[in-house]
Amino acid sequence: MTDFILPIIVVAMLVGFGSIGWLTEQAHLRRLKAAEASLAHIVVTNLKLPAAGMTVIPEPFVIGEVVIGSDYLKTALASLRGIIGGEVRSYQTLMERGRREALVRMMREADARGAKSVINVRIERAELGSAQLPAAEIIATGTAVH
């Protein structure tokens, strides 16, 4: 009987924390969608060259950064994937959330400074040394113009 207690606790933790993680993710994706819709007037490109007539705003360097952590269920699912191979969907959505959140923060900064567009956007993964924990560490930079 006692042999079953530990596995049961582990499974309960996975399901418990995992479902909180899932709800957190769904809420985050909804927030991202709303934020992206409200910032749709900012045209974002990764083109180096500005279109004709564009001028930089007084403080043109805009940055967005975020660190989003994985949850227990995602981490467990990913390690299972490591056995059978294939697409690791749980980390795919994690990285997607990180990138979109960093972009939204960058666009918010541009919007607050009165920019119409952000050019030469670069999205990079930062290496913070927190790699022990599966996390999306993203930094997005761009040049704001109007």
């Binding site: 933790m13 924390f17 909180i20 993680g21 957190t24 993710e25 985050h28 180096k48 060259l49 500005p50 564009m54 001028t55 930089v56 403080e59 043109p60 360097f61 940055i63 950064e65 975020v66 660190v67 989003i68 952590g69 994985s70 949850d71 227990y72 995602k74 981490t75 994690l94 959140e101 050019i119 030469n120 670069r122 990079e124 930062a126 290496e127 913070l128 040394g129 927190s130 790699a131 924990l133 599966p134 996390a135 560490e137 930094i139 930079t141 761009g142 040049t143 113009v145």
Partner: protein
Amino acid sequence: MLVVNTETIPGHEIVEIKGLVQGNTIRAKHLGRDIGAGLKNLVGGELTGYTELLTEARRQALQRMLDQASELGANAVVNVRFTTSSVAAGAAEMYAYGTAVVAIPNA
């Protein structure tokens, strides 16, 4: 000081190139943050402590780069890039570099 990550400054002309400027900082995370992040990793979501760490490091590196640029007499830095590297376990470097220039607005 105008800072951009493009090679040119839209609406401005670069009249003089002063050279490469750089700034770096190496940050260690404190234990409290690690414990907080570890707990947050159970349920997922933003690791706010680490985001703050990223912001602080980026500001510091950028500021050091800008100080160098003003020492050179530049009024703008173009093509700014960030790079991070982990120097040792628990310590990460944030490095900012760009080209210091003198730019004037197009008439």
